[in-house]
């Protein structure tokens, strides 16, 4: 088959695959060298039938035993050369291609770590993981085999046909006739197959999602006895995938059978024609043997084109999937406005929100921003509690300080410096965070806590654990060296929360952001943590998301967040008196004018409620 056919036809396929070039470039010499070696090896394979012809037409016909020995020696040498070239090819690419795969994976990982949190909110980690593993493995295989062999087989076919035509051009032309129908068939196949292949990949993704969710949500499924309906939906999804895969197989079956059938028919025709020519004396028997031997040697290169094209197609999709993520822009660093913009001398340790607005990057234009016109000044050393109804934007507001999300308008200053002018490293060194969802990493307890501070040692570790009432860590099987996280000991929500708190305070940060840090603690532990935390908060500027009066008590002042705006700022007592909404949030008593369920249920103060129950 002609050379151009050996290349994937679809421009977009080629274009996608060309994007791999930056990763291939460092190993290009090895890769092309290996392809060259493979072409030479396959030429050697093509020369072998010629030696056979020489043996049959020469020594065998002349009954020359010495010539037979010589011919066999040539065959052996060519055989050794072929095997050696095979080895050289593999040796040349094995480590470099493993390197390409590793480099792409490392790049992906590095890139993903630096993508905004908003990106990770949208992308399930399973989707990212499948790109880092199966897709990249596919690409390595593509570089090792389909790419090389599209080249090699194309060259082999070309050279093979030159040899065939040189031997007997009439027979050679007979073998060339199927080229046109095969090209058409391959084109049709590729169009259809790429659509089905993409559909199958997406359906695998859906299936993975159901698996992932049914594992993560196992308590809910069990709690409501829903595992049968879950199994049913899994079954319908996997049956859908099966249907798609069978459709894919139907296409493959079609192309494989035609790729087998058509050239075989041509070889049959050449055989009949060749026999006639031998009978007519126009062709030697040896030439016919060699001719057919060459034609049969070309069978595999021709047949392989079907699956080589399919693999290239899948690799192109994998490349697209890889770059889909790599193309997402990393967060910008500092805005370039150098030097701190000093507000005043007293700015040291001050955290200020000025006209801050936030809407999610993918929010519809014109929708109400999550946060707007946030003006808040937290004095040096002050602790500000952030109180607001569920979904009022408290967590979002705290995420703006370490720039996990970017404010869409306005500015936030620390020490009088706009945080967008600092590097993220510097900013996150200044600000320490404890999240509502306490995540521990696969590392020891000590390492998990100490990642909150550079250069902190054993003393700081003990102090932080003591503040967070996480002294249980010393009683773990291997003390603070005990492995936790996905790969280690599983801890309770309360234990994890206390370690996360220890992590936030270990570095004695200048600015502290605590998002409902005590929600999973029992009352007794909470009281102890609060007492210890007071000392820490005394020397740091902090913002604390609070749902409970007990947490609010940690703060000097309270900011009430209502529908994305700061509704009121003051001390706990002041707000209890002045703000009905605050009073409602803190005690559930005192009707707020816009409290949704206000009218439906009579107000019961805590005491009344309790008394009523108690006497039932």
């Amino acid at each position: 088959m002609p050379e151009e056919h050996a290349e994937p036809k679809d421009r977009s396929t080629v274009q996608s695959l060309l994007r791999l070039w930056p990763y291939v470039k460092p190993v290009r010499k090895r890769l092309f060298g290996a392809a060259l070696v493979a072409i030479v090896a396959s030429c050697v394979g093509l020369v072998i039938p010629l030696v056979l012809k020489w043996i049959v037409d020469g020594p065998v016909t002349d009954r020359d035993p010495g010539g037979v020995w010589l011919g066999a020696l040539y065959l052996l040498l060519l055989g050794i050369a072929e095997a050696a070239l095979f080895g050289v090819r593999r040796w040349m690419v094995a480590r470099p291609l493993a390197g390409v795969e590793a480099a792409m994976r490392a790049d992906l990982y590095r890139h993903l770590q630096r993508l905004p949190v908003a990106f990770h909110d949208r992308w399930a980690s399973g989707q990212l993981l499948s790109r880092a593993t199966t897709d990249l493995m596919l690409l390595r295989q593509f570089l090792a085999f389909p790419l090389t062999f599209l080249l090699v087989n194309g060259a082999t076919i070309l050279i093979g046909f030159v040899i065939l035509l040189m031997q007997q051009w009439t027979l050679g032309l007979v073998l060339l006739t199927p080229v046109v129908p095969m090209v058409i068939i391959c084109l049709v196949f590729e169009t259809k197959f790429s659509a089905v292949a993409r559909r199958a990949q997406d359906q695998v993704g859906d299936l993975t999602t159901v698996v992932e969710e049914s594992v993560l949500g196992i308590r809910i499924i069990k709690g409501f006895g829903r595992h049968r309906s879950q199994a049913l939906s899994f079954r319908s999804l996997s049956e859908r995938l099966r249907t798609t895969e069978l459709g894919k197989a139907r296409l493959l079956a079609g192309i494989w059978s035609s790729i087998t059938l058509i050239p075989e028919l041509a070889i049959g025709a050449a055989l009949v024609l060749g026999t006639v020519q031998v009978a007519d004396g126009g062709l030697s028997a040896g030439t016919l043997v060699a001719f057919l031997s060459t034609a049969l040697a070309l069978r595999w290169p021709v047949e392989s084109i079907g699956f080589l094209l399919a693999m290239s197609q899948e690799s192109a999709t994998a490349t697209e999937r890889f770059f889909e993520v790599m193309d997402v822009a990393e967060e910008e660093g500092a805005s370039g406005v150098e030097g701190p913009v000093r507000g005043s001398d007293s700015a040291h340790g001050e955290m200020v929100f000025e006209g801050v607005e936030f809407r999610y990057p993918d929010a519809e234009p014109g929708s109400v921003p999550v946060l707007s016109r946030i003006d808040l000044r937290i004095r040096p050393g002050e602790t500000m509690a952030l109180v607001g109804a569920t979904g009022s934007g408290k967590t979002t507001l705290t995420a703006l300080v370490p720039r996990l999300h970017e404010a869409t308008a306005g500015r936030i200053t620390l020490d009088g410096t706009d945080i967008t002018t600092m590097s993220r490293e510097r900013l996150r060194e200044l600000v320490s965070v404890a999240f509502e969802e306490p995540t521990l990493f696969s590392a020891s307890v000590g390492e998990n806590v100490l990642m909150g501070a550079e250069g902190a040692g054993d003393y700081e570790l003990r102090r932080a654990l003591a503040i967070a009432q996480a002294d249980f860590a010393h009683g773990l099987p291997e003390g603070v060296g005990t492995q936790v996280g996905e790969q280690g000991l599983s801890l309770s929500g309360g234990q994890r929360q206390r370690l996360a708190l220890a992590r936030a305070v270990v570095g004695r940060p200048r600015f502290l952001v605590l998002d409902d840090p005590l929600s999973a603690l029992d009352v007794h532990t909470e009281a102890l943590v609060e007492a210890a935390l007071r000392q820490v908060l005394a020397e740091t500027t902090a913002i604390v998301v609070a749902h409970r009066p007990s947490t609010v008590m940690l703060a000097d002042r309270v900011a009430l967040l209502s529908e994305g705006r700061i509704a009121a700022v003051g001390t706990h007592q002041e707000l209890l008196r002045s703000s009905p909404e605050y009073a409602w949030l803190m005690s559930g008593a005192e009707g707020a004018p816009d409290a949704p369920t206000e009218d439906a249920f009579p107000d019961l103060s805590a005491e009344d409620h309790l008394a009523e129950k108690g006497t039932r």
């Binding site: 949208r122 308590r219 059938l261 929500g493 409602w584």
Partner: protein, 617 residues
Amino acid sequence: MTSTTTADTAPAEPTEDAGSAGDRFDRDDLPTPPGATGALLRSLLRPMRARVALIALVLLVQQLSVQAGPLLVAYAIDSGVPAFRDAEYGPLIAVAVGYALCSAVAGGTQYAFVRVSSLVNQDALLDLRGRIFRHAQALSVDFHERYTSGRLISRSTTDVESLRELLSEGLQELIGVVLSFVSISLMLLWLDFGLGSLAVLSFVPLYLLVRRFQRRAGVLYAERSSAIAAVIVKFAETMNGIRPVQAFRREPVNDAHFEGLNNTHRWTNGSAMLEMGRYVVGSRLVANTAVAGIVLWGAYRVASGTLALGVLAAAVLYLRRLYDPIDRLGMFLNSYQSAAASLEKIAGLLAQTPSVPEPSDPRELPALTGEHPGREVVFDQVRFAYRTGGEVLPRFDLTVPAGQTVAVVGSTGAGKSTLAKLLARFYDPTDGRVLLDGTDLRDLAVPELRRGVVMVTQEAFLFSGTVAENIAIGSPDATRAEIEQAAKAIGAHDFISALPDGYDTDVRKRGGRISAGQRQLVGFARALLANPAVLILDEATSSLDIPGEQAVQRAMDTVLHGRTAVVIAHRLSTVEIADRVLVMEHGRIVEDGAPAELIAGTGRFAGLHRAWRESLT
């Protein structure tokens, strides 16, 4: 480990030998009973015996048709040429027809093979996926607490994938290789016994090569799969914890750590590819040497007149085909090695027996008779200990009358969550019984059990789909009106209505935007819709603000009025609605009474309550 450090919401027993420096992936394995892997593969393929036989038959026919080619060449040269010279066209026409027929059969069998084998693959995979899924779902919560979600996910994804590769590519290779070895050898032996024997003799060094490759590659593949598993774990952990990663500037440290893991994988990956290269070189060398030897001997005999030229030509054509599939055999071994490793892990998972089995002879709950829709709960001499030995509940007796709301308080590790999990039958007691209206929970089938008891936990997980679908998990048959009613009752209607598409908002797309408190409200709406006789709330209000918590309490007072309820809370505000308070410590009840009674007393609860009241003012 003492009970004070025993975790509350999860068993704090070491899932594995914590801190051991061994290979992480090894620890990932569950013990696989001997022979289970083979049994699993057999059981997957057994329903498809007929189809597998059909595949073998199709491939056999294909081999015959393909192998007939050189035979026809020999016939054309040895008989066709002389006959044609005598103006006798019969043999040549026979060659033409025969070759066309063979081509047609080869093409047709190729088509049939791909179709049938894909049917076998897909059905086997469907079966296996379903088995893993159903089994994982049937396994009890304590298993899920020990076997991390990442491992379970990789069992049903990457491990199934490697079996798919084996079935879709490997099986074909294996059957094809075996058939072509056998048929070509027979053909060669039939053509000329001497030449054929020489070819068969070459199988000895080839076999040795295959064995060596299998042995060495086995080790390398195991190392490689451990290496990639370590990469996966690190990757998933980073992405799932991206907030703390960025906030604590872990990126450079992670880069370095990941680089190390990634490089280990790169090295083993390269080594595995090199090993494959060595195998290919060795087998090629044996094959080419054998070809040279056979040609030498054959040509010698043709020259001395003891062998027909056509036979030699056919033999040479066959020889090239004989050794072609050796590389493919290497590929088969390749996919077999990784599939075997995966199947072993899957077999280990499937060999786990649910520690909370469904009853073989389920009983029904007695019809509700009392004025309450609630049911009586009895813990009858219940003892509970983790399998590793940590005893959480030494001996526990408790009777909760139908319709009563019981609040359970106590410090971390007191056994509150264990109590809840026993009542929800997430665990079974080590000794004793948990009774619902006199019926042992172990005798209830799942649907009956869940009409009786529903538990709402602290973690409010949202499934893919709309908000309405998430609420409907409580009762799949619920109408939209019922769903909205449940949301209204719990105070979740307002925020849901404010979402871009209201109840039809896809939670995945906006998943990051629904706050923890809002998720908990959705969780409650589920429970309201499920309408159980007994409701367990395990820290279910931890992320709610006080108004949210009160909405929950009001809903329990109205919608769920008369249900039996067990409420576990750190918050004393939650306790307000209880008829009765239990204070637990070290798995025992230390205080038990009406809230007012306990508050008036001098016990622990009174102290806690005083502190809480003070914080309100």
